[in-house]
């Protein structure tokens, strides 16, 4: 019986080869058991086709779009910054530096035998400011302490990021 049903379902679904199809058509026409089973399965097939779909809540689409909007709004600033802006800033600095270097190289007097006498242009009464007197030991120690704290802070941030990346993976 199962085999008959399988054959008939294949026929109803249109999954038969032309030969199988003509054989089943003949069987339905000649065999009463086949015909009755075919009618039963066809009725079931029509019934299954008429299954009603469930209706989601009225605000479903709105909720989905709102959820997407909220998610987009929560994107961290780092990811939200347009890459083009960053590229633009980088390009500006590259062009500015390239221009400055080019101008310097072009305006430099390559034919001169020696380097220009820079010392001659320095005013005679130029004095290097004496800052060593104002740098006392506590200031140096404070500066070093600040550096150590900053270093530890950056190292901690680096380790935390590594940890978070591991958890995401």
């Amino acid at each position: 019986m199962n085999h008959i049903e399988e054959q008939l379902w294949n026929y109803i679904d249109g999954n038969c080869t032309p030969d199988e199809q003509s054989a089943i058509v003949k069987l339905i026409a000649s065999d009463e058991a086949y015909r009755l089973k075919y009618q039963e399965l066809l009725a079931l097939n029509n019934e299954f086709s008429a299954i009603e779909l469930d209706e989601p809540p009225m605000a479903f689409t709105y909720n989905v779009i709102e959820a997407i909007r909220t998610e987009n709004a929560q994107v961290p600033l780092k990811a939200a910054i347009n890459k083009r802006i960053i590229m633009g800033i980088a390009l500006f600095f590259i062009i500015a530096l390239a221009g400055f270097i080019t101008y310097t190289l072009v305006s430099f007097n390559w034919s001169a035998q020696s380097l220009p006498d820079v010392a001659a242009k320095v005013p005679v009464d130029f004095k290097v400011p004496q800052i060593s007197s104002s740098i006392s030991k506590p200031i140096v120690e404070g500066f070093l302490f600040f550096d150590v704290v900053l270093g530890l802070f950056l190292f901690d941030t680096f380790l935390r990021r590594k940890n978070v990346a591991k958890q995401i993976k």
Partner: protein
């Protein structure tokens, strides 16, 4: 009057930054996605959560949709994986109160049955009731085949199975559905007598 845009045209608009085009896509597929989610969740709230999650995931990975299959097939594969993850998570969460949960579900189903008994005597009511009693996989395959306009190959793609496996599963699911439908109708006839 503007003709109805295809799924692919709407996707192109979404990728170009038009978010309202995605609302149109959601409206177009929400009934089927929700129904499919209901086949797994068996409760409207959970189904809504699955369906919503599925549309959000689809939006996030819309740019990776390769357009070799229909959008609906791709979307249904997301529904399937989302629903499976949801069920797995739910099983873990409610493991200790599993019996109680089943009891509540059965009780609420039968009470709903009693309330609606008088007004929902149509075949479609019994058919939906029988589908609810099927295993999620069977119910999903039947729904996708009859209402999702999906071929056996496409259902296979969505569920990660061979087309032949889907064919066998569909055959068995239809048999089980037929049995359940007959049993429910017999039970109803006995009650009336």
């Amino acid at each position: 009057m503007q003709s109805k845009l295809s799924d692919i045209e709407l996707i192109d608009q979404v990728l170009a930054g038009n978010q309202s085009a995605y609302a149109d896509l959601v409206k177009r597929h929400q009934r089927f996605v929700f129904t499919l989610a209901m086949r797994f969740a068996k409760g409207r709230e959970d189904a809504e959560e699955i369906a919503q999650d599925c549309f959000i995931k689809a939006y996030r990975s819309l740019s990776t949709f390769q357009r070799q299959a229909k959008f609906s097939t791709w979307l249904y594969s997301i529904v399937y994986t989302t629903a499976m993850t949801f069920l797995r998570k739910k099983r873990v969460d409610t493991d200790s109160i599993d019996d109680e949960g089943t009891f509540i579900q059965v009780e609420s189903q039968s009470s709903a049955y009693d309330v609606n008994n008088a007004e929902n005597k149509s075949r479609s009511f019994y058919l939906n009731q029988a589908i609810e009693q099927l295993l999620p996989d069977d119910a999903a395959i039947i729904t996708m085949f009859y209402k999702g306009e999906q071929s056996l190959e496409e259902i296979g793609q969505a569920l990660g199975m061979e087309a032949n496996t889907v064919k066998v599963k569909l055959f068995r699911a239809r048999q089980r559905l037929k049995d359940k439908l007959e049993r429910n109708l017999k039970h109803e006839a006995k009650e009336l007598i």
